[in-house]
């Protein structure tokens, strides 16, 4: 190693040399990269767990794993995917893109930014360590309902502390994003000129600040119930296990929107660029996002229609839930209207976005079905709900994270990705994701419960088809890793322009920067910013 120490111009230095750069960095682009790489790794860890689940379910009967380990797989798959893959991926995108989109030099609190990343790693390592403990990893489902979860072996306190760490990490990330958006915008960047990705993240960050502490409180109550003789959820001591479900879903419902709102944001960045039209209904998009976020706080008990709520409660939560379809419908309408009569081209980010609009709408419709309290009694805890939320998470959140990767990789690296391979990745993913999850609707309607390692033979056919889909979908994602690697290493060799995508400059500030984006950008704020709202004042 050569000793490169000369730093003549302090204001314009690049990244530090060596591996330590990644440990101590406070640069928003470095931390964004860390988050993205980490979440991609976790996506494969969680995906491997999913493949273990699908292998076991390939045929009826017990094949590969014992039931306890199977239950650990469903629990850990969910925890890793939610807290290790999807959420950090969006935080990574936020780190990379928000300062570049609002004309800021960096995040508002760079040191806290570094800390929240490493806390995430610590939390996930702590969670992974439970695999080696007596009694195995947590196996009571990611919702951790008592009294079942209190039977977890030695893993319980570690899982709870891990949730604490992950929670603190998300809260710090959220605070940082709010502070950045409120205090670091370029003078010309008024709130209603912010790109929608920034808007959706601002609202998501407020959700996180409001709900993660409630979740931390709920798991702390589990901890004291188990070890310190409190009786929050213990009926013998005057507590009530149903109370846990209320607290959990007060967190849990907004939490699922934490994973979907930035997805909406990414789609709202990509679709206008490839439709070569301004986003249709910019301000209605902002208000719809805010409305969804607000509604997410008042619908939680639709996750617990079967606990024995009285009729009035069921009706209230049913109608409130169905209300969410309105702002969501506004969004779907706006994306469709953006594409309407647009000069569309179908590069990989756009393909993923169109698949997202279609498949997410399907996930939304099954959500409406389950919002109906009387019907939910049939669907509750069956594969129907599994199919529903995987439709809203995989072809929505995961697809849009990958789309964001393709969309911004040229900006990040200065190189073009391999469009042919990306299209292959898209088609394999889009087809196999349906083979994987669509049959699960039928399984659920026929009555197959979720979280079981073995099932009645009547479910055999659809399970086999679903597993085949999983074994196409999973390995196809390796193509993405290869494309990313190849792009970083030079891509197709074609040098991209600053704008990368034709006309992208009119949609957001990051496309006015050079490609690859320099280590420090917008040290002086930009004078002009694109106007996104099409309504005339």
């Amino acid at each position: 190693m050569s000793a490169v120490t000369a730093e003549h111009d302090h204001h314009d230095h690049g990244p530090a040399k060596g591996l330590l750069r990644w440990v101590v960095t406070t640069n928003h682009k470095d931390i964004g990269t860390l988050y993205l790489v980490f979440s991609l790794a976790m996506f494969f860890v969680g995906g491997t767990m999913a493949l273990i689940i699908r292998s076991e379910l390939f045929e009826p009967g017990m094949q590969f794993v014992n039931p306890q380990f199977f239950n650990s797989m469903t629990t850990m798959h969910a925890l890793v995917m939610v807290f290790g893959a999807v959420m950090p991926a969006f935080v990574g995108l936020a780190n990379w893109m928000i300062p570049m989109m609002i004309g800021a030099p960096d995040m508002a609190l760079p040191r806290m930014n570094n800390m929240s990343f490493w806390m995430l790693v610590a939390g996930i390592l702590l969670l992974a360590s439970t695999f080696f403990m007596e009694g195995g990893a947590p196996a009571a489902g990611w919702t951790m309902y008592p009294p079942l979860v209190l039977q977890t072996g030695n893993a319980l306190p570690f899982a709870i502390f891990s949730v604490h760490l992950l929670g603190i990490s998300s809260i710090m990330g959220a605070i940082n994003i709010i502070a950045t958006i409120f205090n670091m915008r370029a003078p010309a960047m008024s709130l209603m000129k912010m790109p929608l990705f920034v808007w959706t993240w601002l609202i998501t960050a407020f959700l996180l600040v409001a709900i993660m502490p409630v979740f931390a409180g709920a798991v702390t109550m589990l901890l004291t119930d188990r070890f310190f003789d409190t009786s929050f959820f213990d009926a013998a001591g005057g507590g009530d296990p149903v109370l846990y479900q209320h607290i959990f879903w007060f967190f849990g419902h907004p939490e699922v929107y934490v994973m979907i709102l930035p997805t909406f944001g990414v789609a709202s960045q990509i679709i206008p660029v490839f439709a070569r039209k301004p986003l249709f209904g910019y301000s209605s998009m902002v208000f719809a996002t805010a409305a969804i976020a607000f509604l997410s706080f008042i619908v939680w008990a639709h996750h617990m229609f079967t606990v024995g709520m009285p009729m009035a409660g069921e009706l209230y939560f049913m109608y409130a839930t169905m209300l969410i379809a309105i702002p969501t419908g506004v969004k779907i309408f706006n994306w469709t209207a953006t594409m309407w009569k647009g000069a569309m081209t179908f590069e990989a980010p756009m393909l993923f976005s169109i698949a997202f609009v279609v498949l997410f709408t399907m996930g939304g419709f099954t959500g409406l079905m389950m919002a109906l309290a009387p019907l939910d009694f049939q669907y509750h805890d069956t594969y129907f709900i599994v199919a529903h939320f995987h439709y809203t998470l995989v072809p929505a959140s995961v697809f849009m994270i990958m789309a964001a990767g393709y969309f911004w990789l040229p900006k990040w690296t200065g190189n073009m990705y391999d469009e042919k391979l990306a299209k292959l990745h898209f088609w394999l993913s889009a087809i196999s994701v349906n083979i994987l999850f669509f049959p699960q609707h039928f399984l659920g309607l026929a009555g197959m419960p979720r979280r079981i390692p073995d099932y009645a033979v009547q479910f055999a056919d659809w399970n086999m088809i679903s597993s085949i889909g999983a074994f196409i979908y999973g390995p196809s994602q390796l193509i993405f890793v290869y494309i990313v690697y190849k792009t970083i290493k030079g891509g197709t060799g074609e040098k991209v322009t600053d704008e990368v995508w034709e006309g992208a400059k009119e949609h957001s500030l990051e496309w006015t920067l050079p490609s690859p984006a320099p280590y420090h950008t917008f040290s002086t704020p930009p004078k002009e910013v694109p106007t996104l709202s099409t309504s005339r004042s």
Partner: protein, 181 residues
């Protein structure tokens, strides 16, 4: 100017941390709120935890209600627990007594607690118990068995739509928790 920004950030972070702490507290506040809410609305089928006063009601002989008794033990608690009767046909306003039998199946002293629950939940407030083994913890000597009466009345105010009420008791073995105390 950057000092200015630092101050602005610090101020905003303070506010946000305050929200975080507030929401952590709110999570805990949900516990009493839930109890108060259920108490007012009677939503979760909890009966009163103390004996009702012996009020004389007018007996409604024209109306018959079926009250069912369900007994269970929590998990694998080594208690034998059953009701003398599975169900009774009763008139609102009249007092009835039913015996429940419980036996400690172990060689050790045991502390146990029975938790009642009423279905449908909204009927719970009309079921008044003047005597119940569920009002306090029960101590059992090794292999001791007990016959425990429950004396109750259904308030004649019970809305007409309720024809059947189920009273369920679950016995919890609390020995470990009481030993620690």
């Amino acid at each position: 100017m950057s000092d200015d920004l630092g101050q602005k950030n610090a101020k905003l972070v303070r506010k946000l941390v305050f929200i975080v702490l507030g929401m952590f507290g709110f999570g805990y506040a949900l516990v009493p709120l839930y109890d108060v809410f259920c108490d007012i609305t009677g939503l979760n089928g909890k009966t009163a935890s103390e004996a009702a006063t012996d009020v004389k009601y007018e007996v409604d002989l024209n109306r018959k209600i079926t009250i069912e008794f369900v007994t269970s033990v929590n998990g694998v608690a080594p208690i034998e627990f059953r009701g003398e009767k599975n169900k009774l046909n009763i008139h609102p306003g009249q007092y009835y007594s039913v015996n429940f039998y419980a036996e400690n199946k172990t060689d050790k002293k045991m502390t146990a607690r029975a938790i009642p629950s009423v279905t449908p939940g909204l009927a719970a407030e009309y079921l008044k118990k003047t005597e119940c083994f569920c009002f306090s913890e029960q101590t059992f000597e090794p292999h001791e068995s007990k016959l425990m009466p429950v004396r109750f009345v259904i308030d004649p105010e019970l809305p007409a739509r309720y024809k059947t009420i189920t009273l369920a008791y679950t016995f919890f073995d609390n020995t470990e928790k009481s030993v620690k105390k």
